[in-house]
Every structure is written in C-alpha cells, then in structure tokens.
C-alpha cells in the first residue's frame, strides 16, 4: 500500500468508501448552503430595491403660509352659514398668500408656475380651519400645507437638475423659488402623515393607504370569520367522522384540486354568485372576503386535517378507553393538540389571502375610491390592489408611494408569519 493516509488498521477498500462518503456529504452540504445563500440573496435584493425606492415616501415637504382670511372673499354676503363657508374661494386666498412672498412675480404665466408649487390640497386645509373656527375670519392664520409632488420630488433630490428643462416637470424658475423658500425657512421636511391618514387620491401628495389598510382589515376579518370555522369543521368531519369510501376519497381529491385552482377562477365564481346572483354591493370588502374565504378554505382544510392526523392514535384510544365519547375525545384531547397546526395553516392561508389581488380585480375591486370605508359593505380598495393601481399611475411620485405601500404590506405579512411561528412555539412548549 503506497497511500500514506491509509492506516494499517483500515483496509484500503473501506478507506476509499469512507472518503467517497465524506466527499458526498460535503458536496451535499455545499448544495444546501448554496441554495439557502441564493434564496437569501434574492430576498435581500428584493428588500433593498423596494426600500431604496420607497423610503423617500415616508417624508414630505410642507410649506408654511400666512393667510389673511379676508371676509370679502370668504363670505361677501356676511351670512356665515356652513354652506357659504364651505363653497368659498379658498384657493384664491392661498395663492395670494404665496404670491405675497414673491411680489415681483406679476406676469400671468409666471404666476401660474408659482401656484403650481402648491398642492391642490392647500385650499382644503384652509377650508377645514375656517369651518372649525369661523370666528377667525378677518384675522390671519398660519397653515402648513404639502407642496406639489413635483416640487417635493425635486427637494428630495429625486429630480436631477442636469436634465434639460423641457423634459422635467419642474421648471428652472420654480427651482429658484423653491430654493429661496427653503433658504428662508418657509419649507421644511417632515414625516408624511398623509400617507397613513388619507384614502386614495389623484394627487400623489394627498394620497394615502388608510382606505386600503382598513379595506384589507375588513377583508381579512370576513375571511377568517367565514373560513376558519367552516374549514376546521370540515376537517374534523372528514378526518374523524366520515366513513372511508369512494365518496370521501372523491371529496379529498377535490379539495386538493381546489387548492391548486388559480385564484382568478374563484374571482369569476364570486362575480357570478355574489354579485350577479345575490346582488351584493360592488367593491365591498364583504364580497372580497367571501371570495378569499373560498380560496383559502382548501388550504385551511388540508392544514387542519394534517394537524388532526398528526395527533397520535394512542391519545384517542386513551380517551375512549376511560369512557369518553367520540365527541369528548375530539374536543378535549385531539383538537387542542391540533391547534398549533391548524393555527399555522390558517395564518399562512390568511397571509396568502392578504396578498391576493387577481380575484379582487375580477370582482371589481379596482374602482378609484377616495373615502375610507366605515363598514364591510362600503366600497373600498385593499392593499395589493392599491399597489397595483399606484404602480399603474403616470405620476413619478406614485413610484415611491407604491414601494412604500409594498413595504407596509410586507410588514403585515412578516407580522402574520411571525405570529404563526410564535403560536406554534407557544403551544409546543406547553408540554
């Protein structure tokens, strides 16, 4: 034997086999590591690109204006009733207060450019102040109002001044004014509360995800209230009570098939049944929840059945052996042991439902809805659909808001999955 590594105790054939086995193990470990590494890299790439695109949406630039509340403009007839107050020309007041800061801008076209820096939301904000305190008419008030999205993007450094003027939405004159305002302290950057307190809007600086978040919440609520009890009851019946015959085999196969049916198909089903046949309101989260319940029911049933099946038969025998009825053995012993598995399956199903958009588009949840829904019957949009709508918008400022909405959605998803892990751990640790 010439191989120096071969000890005299180990015959060379055995040594060779050992070496080959170790090499195979190393190779296998390497494949695994490489796969995990690749998956992690993709994930990091996804997160980094979303965060890079979206972090700027969490702040906004606001302008501080001192507005003289001229009674002659707000309420020329002096009636002071809410109707005349709400229809007054606040836009003029806001614009005049901005123009007062730049007295040398007089030409019509230039003035239009100057006013373009303001968000159309400014006049609403002023109106809110006046409606709340009509006594302040005749005095001056200081309001903070968002800048137009193009100005905001420029101040955030998202618009390069090197681009020729004709290809930017923000013009050279406006840049000069913005810089002057910024230097004078008239503009500052703050946390973008609008994003979390407003519904959708055509104007990016006025658009928020609250409507979508509330809509998604109602959707999830409807889904879990419907699909959890039905799913668990179906699983318990199929696993514990149903006789094993061709019919139950057929049901089993069909449930597995349903879990694999594309969700759009469920959307079409929902359209035909809930909207056309039952005439439920369009764009309501209730209908969305009904459709999503159908989609995740198979997932919950399969997960719950697996969890029930995993409860050792000896536990059932033990319960039956001391004279528990079948019902008692299931309720007292089998179900509690299956809870972690059932909960995990349900939460994963819910997370799946939260991110679902295709079936919701089919049942018409793509409408542009400004109001935040109050009940599950109100028309609403939901997070994934909001993302879809914003991603489709022409305004560049919606790009960052899309990414921000994706981040919010991801945070919800991560929270739900973490909850699933915690529940599983908690119940496992108990015994």
């Amino acid at each position: 034997m010439t191989d120096t590594k071969t000890s005299s105790l180990v015959p060379s054939a055995v040594y060779d086999r050992l070496r080959r086995r170790r090499a195979a193990e190393r190779r296998f470990r390497f494949y695994g590591l490489a796969a995990v590494g690749l998956a992690l890299m993709m994930l990091v790439f996804l997160f980094v690109s979303i965060v890079r695109q979206g972090y700027s949406a969490f702040t906004e630039h606001v302008i501080t204006l001192t507005v003289a509340l001229d009674p002659a403009v707000i309420d020329p007839e002096g009636r002071r009733n809410s109707q005349s107050l709400s229809s007054a020309d606040y836009q003029r007041l806001v614009r005049e207060s901005l123009a007062a800061l730049f007295p040398d801008v007089t030409e019509r076209a230039e003035r239009r450019l100057l006013f373009g820096l303001l968000s159309s939301g400014a006049s609403h904000r002023l109106r809110d102040v006046v409606m709340r305190e009509p006594a302040r008419i005749g005095t001056t008030v200081v309001i903070e109002t968002p800048l137009d999205d193009d100005a905001d993007r420029f101040l955030k450094g998202l618009v390069s001044p090197d681009v020729p003027e004709s290809e930017r939405r923000i013009k050279d004159r406006q840049i000069v004014w913005l810089k002057a305002l910024h230097a004078g302290g008239g503009i500052h950057n703050r946390f973008n509360t609008t994003l979390f307190t407003a519904g959708d809007s055509r104007e990016p600086e006025l658009a928020g995800i609250l409507g979508a978040v509330v809509g998604s919440f109602y959707l999830m609520l409807t889904t879990v209230v419907l699909s959890f009890p039905i799913g668990v009851a179906a699983a318990v019946y199929l696993e514990e009570f149903a006789p094993r015959n061709r019919f139950t085999d057929l049901i089993e196969v069909n449930i597995n098939n349903l879990a694999a049916v594309p969700s759009v198909v469920f959307g079409l089903l929902g359209l035909a049944i809930f909207l056309d046949f039952f005439g439920l309101p369009r764009s309501a989260s209730l209908v969305g929840g009904l459709v999503l319940s159908l989609i995740i029911l198979p997932t919950i049933i399969i997960a719950a059945r697996a969890a029930l099946k995993a409860v050792p038969p000896s536990i059932r025998e033990a319960a039956l052996g001391v004279g528990a009825s079948k019902m008692q053995s299931i309720l007292h012993h089998v179900l509690p042991l299956a809870v972690p598995g059932i909960m995990t399956g349900t939460i994963i199903g819910m997370a799946h439902a939260l991110g679902e958009s295709a079936p919701l588009l089919v049942i018409g949840m793509v409408a542009f809805i400004v109001d935040v829904p109050v009940t599950p019957l109100d028309p609403t949009t939901v997070l994934p659909v909001q993302i879809y709508l914003w991603a489709d918008s022409a305004e560049r400022a919606f790009v960052e808001r899309t990414a921000a909405a994706i981040m919010v959605l991801l945070i919800f998803l991560i929270a739900m999955n973490a909850l699933a892990v915690i529940i599983r751990k908690k119940f496992e640790r108990q015994w």
Binding site: I315, E317, A319, V322, Q328
Partner: protein, 273 residues
C-alpha cells in the same frame, strides 16, 4: 349466523375455556376478528371469571391484544377491523347495536400496551375519567379519587409533589402506572391490562402485581403478559393463544404444571415463541 350454546365445548380448544355460568363475568362465543383480509382471531370461545385474574399468553402476534380489545370494543375505532360472534358482559351482548359503547368502556377499563398518558398534568390525567362521568362530588371529592387511584397504582409517593407536572414528563414505567391509575379512577368492573409491566423494573413490577392481587377482590382482571412467571404468580386462569386460535385454557396451576396441548408444552418450555 348460528351460535353454539355457551356450554358446548368449542372445537380446537383443549382444557376448560368455560366456567360455571354464575361465575362468568365476560363470555366470548365463537369470536372471529378480521383486519381486512387477515383473520386475526379464529373462532375463540372463552369465559372470564368474576373477581379473578385471567392471563392471556402466547407468542408475539398471536392475537392476544386483538382479543382483549374486543372485550371493550376498542377495535371499533380501527376501520378495517371486523368482529363476529358474541361477547356478553353479565349476560348482556356488548355488540348489540343498542349498547352504549361509552358506558361499556366505562365499565370495562383498559391499560394499553404502550403507555399513553394525555399531554396534560398528572392530576388531569387521572381526574379526566371521573370528571366526564361525574363520579366525584366537588373539587375535594375529585382530589380524593385522584390521590387514592395514584396510591393504589403505587405512584403517589413519586409524584405527590408535582401533581401538576405534565404526565409525559414521567419515565416510561411511571407513565404506565399513571395509565393504571387513570383506568382504576373510573372504578370499572373489568380491567384489561395489555402487558402492563413490559416497561417496568422488577420492583415496580412487584408493586403492580400486588396491585393486581388487591384489585381482584373488587374487579375482574384480564392481563396479557409475556412473562410466564408473572402469569403464574398473578392469575387464577390462563389462556394460551397461538396464531389466532385459543389452543388451551384452564387453571393456571394446571397449565403450568401439566399442559394438555403439545403447543402449550412447547411454548412453556421455551421451544418456540
């Protein structure tokens, strides 16, 4: 289906599978058990005497557990299992559709071959049966039942400081005694024990055997065991199974000193099994 009168000697079985009708607690007549196609118990007729210990012995896989599980209809929960023949408890056919299986199992308790405590506290394990049957009056009554059951199973000393620890945290032998305590807590009339001592050390085994001696004054006991010495020590009657058939049955002393069938002889002298 025709049944032979219970006093007919069943063919194939030698010895005395029957006892006087008045002394019989459980009577099995021409029982056949099938697991799907597999014929696991073949035409077994056997009486279990009141307030005595009957030992079922035989090589592994011969159907002792299967036969025992027929006695409290535990086989019902196995889908593929089919039982024919009659088994009566105090003259009442336990396979009668009118019988309440839950009530039957409360009267015929069982200790399984593998210890299977509930994943709950030691206290809860024993208290569960009395609670669902409403045997205890109030909290103190329940505690009383739990403590006496644990004591009779010879477990109380070891667990009295940790009654609320999980039952699954006990050792294998302790778990088996916990299962015995759980079975006697519902005061059944018959206790079926499937190799209750297979996981126990000699001291714990001796304690279980003492328990069996004590219990037989009030209970009827059927025990499956692989230990010939144990069968000889605790039982009054012994039944020897082989490949699903009841080969021989009789008084324990007679079986161990003077077996009638050559298969019994072979098994007892260790030539097979």
């Amino acid at each position: 289906m025709t049944y032979r009168a219970s006093n007919d000697p069943p063919h194939g079985t030698v010895g005395a599978p029957r006892v006087e009708a008045a002394r019989a607690k459980l009577t099995a007549c021409n029982v056949d058990v099938f697991y799907g196609e597999k014929h696991a118990i073949k035409d077994v007729s056997l009486d279990i005497g009141r307030n005595e210990v009957t030992a079922l012995i035989g090589p592994s896989g011969c159907g002792k557990s299967t036969f025992m599980r027929c006695l409290n209809r535990m086989n019902d929960i196995i889908d593929i299992c089919r039982v024919t023949g009659t088994i009566t408890l105090d003259g009442e056919d336990i396979y009668d559709p009118k019988i309440d299986v839950v009530h039957l199992r409360a009267r015929v308790g069982m200790v399984f071959q593998k210890p299977n405590p509930f994943p709950k506290s030691i206290f809860e394990n024993v208290a569960y049966g009395p609670r669902i049957h409403g045997l205890a009056s109030g909290k103190a009554g329940l505690e009383e039942i739990v403590l006496t059951s644990l004591k009779r199973a010879g477990l109380l000393e070891e667990v009295k400081d940790r009654l609320h620890a999980p039952g699954t945290s006990l050792s294998g032998g302790q778990q088996q005694r916990l299962c015995i305590a759980r079975a006697i807590a519902v005061s059944p009339q018959v206790i079926l024990m499937d190799e209750p001592c297979s996981a126990l050390d000699p001291i714990a085994t001796a304690r279980i055997e003492e328990l069996i001696d004590e219990l037989q004054h009030n209970f009827t006991i059927v025990i499956v065991t692989h230990s010939m010495q144990q069968a000889a020590r605790v039982s009054q009657r012994t039944a020897f199974f082989h490949l699903g058939e009841l080969i021989e049955c009789g008084m324990t002393e007679q079986i161990f000193t003077n077996p009638l069938h050559r298969l019994t002889q072979g098994y007892l002298t260790g030539r097979f099994g």
